[in-house]
Symmetry: C2
Subunit: 448 residues, 2 copies
């Protein structure tokens, strides 16, 4: 009898693992349980659906359920929720509309993802108050926004979801108030990025409320206002985007160990404390390439890569899931902002480094070339070893230059080594010294 | 008495060295001899001056002669040609309009640059036949193009200068014929790039003549036509851009050794066979990061970096000039094309590798995001070690992604290590797997 590979969760990590395992071993029985109806969708694209850049929610689906079933021969069961894992018996208990049943497995992947955090705000259940973490929510927001004549929106949380939704709702002519409890938006990107993004958000007409706590929402059935400590601000729609938490209840109940971040602990192959139980994607930890410590950065590439690696591992080709650098990029109206590695000096000190940083501003193209823009680049390095620890960039173009820094982090390069990299120059694309090289050059001087 | 640092040549390498040396040691006497009038100019920007993107030739000057003299305290002598070096006496002989004199030095930098190759074409002296390698030539071409009503242009050579000039002249409404002796344009970029660029050039109305040798130019005072083997094609203006050769006569006459490429041989600090004589920029060799062998790739960043390093070295801080990857990028009308490392299988074999390559095409942004473009990525690796050897990219956007590959080359990464790099993803900037990662993934599969 063929072995059985069971996957819990039909998004990036789960479907990548299922597809790869089936491709590597067509004899393997591959069953995916997905409690919802959507599989393999691009959650990151949802703000652009609300904005109107993407016409149809289905466009966000990379591969449809039918394609998985018919072309990839994966036994994909939607509307099927796994409610229990028994690692000793090697079975899962599944509930669907019709029945509850047990399914045995030889290898199991927990890819249950993350949930949007819902703080204990009063009025969270009012009509017009949304989180945006799955396709049904995106659909509901788009309906709400396009079918009503809304004047004001409140966005709670200045992370990338909050900023992307500020852009999306502004596009509909809605006045946006954005509330952030911390002193700055985009906390993981660091202050140099945040300050430039904040100025830009204000220029674009967003009412930015930093260091401002929201206590709840008021309204009669539908939301009408946001309650702050000392005032009440009108809001016809509210988006709560204060982050996500790994969905680990099922794993925890089964005795699968969590790591220091609260997500499922895994080894370099994505294995949990049970040898034939793996975890990947937004519910799982991954190793950080700079600190060497487990971290939880729920992003799409990490999920895809880890799922794919686990599909290889369980079919006989042990493949590490890869380390993460926490690389992220976000569009904020006309700006692109990106970060990788360690960008916060305190965080770097906690990891045992003696951080030195610089922030420079440089043109994205030759100074005389039309269309050139300013790019701000921040780099962080360890004083003694000169090792590059992380960086960030922000500007109207060129934010993908963060990939150069991310690649250098994976290679363990020093700042001097990065400074000496032979990067591409021609007037329409870069100054002679690419802004990343200029930052490395300045930081290198500071390290001497 | 203060030491004297003499620099021959006032462009990128020479002025970088002079500036850096003077900044590090203000007591040092720094004398730069430049035979022309222009210093520190962006030769790479000249096609954009001819095109009309840059209003004034002076805009291409990064730092003016007066700024070097007044602000940086460099004794810059323009119109002063060094005609002899005596390494034993440690003197140079200088000719200017007024006088001929000797100047002694403690350290000498030869930064004599390169010259445009002028093949023995008949009619090369006709009015309207140009090479484009210095500012006076750029000025003359721009005059010729804007002051006459030209209908046809011939460009000899399909390297980056030829392609940039095709774009520049087309902008003036001139019909362009481009002649390349080899089977493809942009030879160092490899076939996958060349074929896409060639299709694009044709779409843009350039008459492309591949594997076509030009024998000369005809006309009565002014050029009127180009002579091919079997036909004559009208041409109101001709640009000859068949490459450059290092300007080494002066060095060679002084007993300074040349390397296998014909440029001045240097050690890792830019030193020649005379301990206190350095060479940098377009006249000098540099070490290739993949082959470890000396190479001659005359580009601006290499010149700047080496000059700067030599400025540090001669003031007491020995600094390697850095290795090169041969990274280059070029705009061809709407396309960007870039390359780094080894892109040619034969060349890789000669360097002792067993090359395997892939070419993939992928979207530059999420598939559902508007404005996404196709990027073609080629990667080359060594079969046994899995080491990345080089790559190229071409597309309407995203050509600077070559920097990720270049950085990986400097780090000596394998394809699998590159595949596992945590690069930035968000729908407006990239698919989940960046095109470079997709290429690495496919190549990695081919290496197994």
């Amino acid at each position: 009898m063929a072995d059985t590979f069971v996957v819990i969760g039909g998004d990036a990590a789960g479907m990548s693992a299922a597809s790869k395992a089936k491709r590597e071993n067509p004899e393997l029985e591959v069953i995916v349980f997905e409690k919802g109806d959507w599989v393999s969708y691009a959650a990151c694209g949802m703000p652009y659906y609300v904005k109107g850049d993407v016409d149809d929610l289905d466009d966000l689906v990379t591969i449809t359920a039918d394609e998985f079933r018919d072309e990839r021969d994966v036994d994909l069961r939607t509307g099927a929720e796994v409610v229990d894992i028994d690692p000793d018996a090697q079975t899962v208990t599944v509930e669907s509309d019709e029945e509850t049943y047990e399914q045995s497995y030889d290898d199991l992947l927990v890819a249950t993802g993350a949930n949007a955090i819902k703080p204990p705000f009063e009025g969270l259940d009012l009509e017009g108050v949304f989180t945006i973490h799955n396709m049904d929510e995106a659909d509901a927001i788009e309906d709400y926004v396009t079918e009503r004549d809304l004047e004001t929106a409140a966005i709670v949380g200045g992370g990338y979801v909050g900023i992307e939704m500020a852009e999306a709702l502004s596009e509909h002519g809605i006045d946006v108030d954005l509330y952030e409890m911390l002193p700055h938006v985009l906390q993981p990107f660091g202050e140099p990025v945040a300050e430039i993004v904040e100025d830009h958000l204000r220029e674009q007409g967003v009412n930015l409320h930093l260091e401002t706590a929201v206590s709840g929402f008021d309204g009669d059935e539908r939301v009408e206002s946001v309650a702050l400590e000392e005032e009440t601000v009108p809001a016809d729609v509210v988006i709560v985007g204060v982050g996500v938490a790994p969905n680990v209840e099922l794993a925890e109940a089964a005795g699968i160990e969590l790591g220091p971040t609260g997500a499922v602990a895994t080894d370099e192959y994505g294995r949990t404390n049970y040898e034939n139980v793996y975890a990947a994607g937004d519910c799982a930890e991954a190793r950080h390439v700079v600190t060497g410590e487990p971290d939880h950065v729920p992003l799409a590439l990490t999920a895809n890569r880890a799922g794919r690696a686990i599909g290889q591992t369980i079919t006989g080709d042990p493949t590490p899931t890869g380390e993460i650098a926490g690389t992220a990029i976000v569009k904020a109206f006309e700006l692109g902002a990106a970060r990788t590695g360690l960008t916060d000096e305190e965080q770097a000190e906690e990891a045992g480094f003696d951080p030195v940083s610089v922030t420079i501003s440089a043109a994205t193209r030759a100074h005389y070339y039309p269309e050139s823009e300013e790019l701000s680049v921040t780099l962080l390095a360890d004083r003694e070893s000169g090792r590059l620890l992380g960086g960030s960039v922000v500007g109207r173009e060129g934010a993908k230059r963060i990939d150069t820094v991310a690649t250098a982090l994976h290679a363990g390069m020093t700042v001097t080594e990065l400074q000496n990299a032979d990067l591409a120059y021609a007037p329409p694309f870069s100054p002679v010294w690419d802004p990343v090289l200029t930052a490395a050059k300045v930081l290198s001087g500071k390290l001497e």
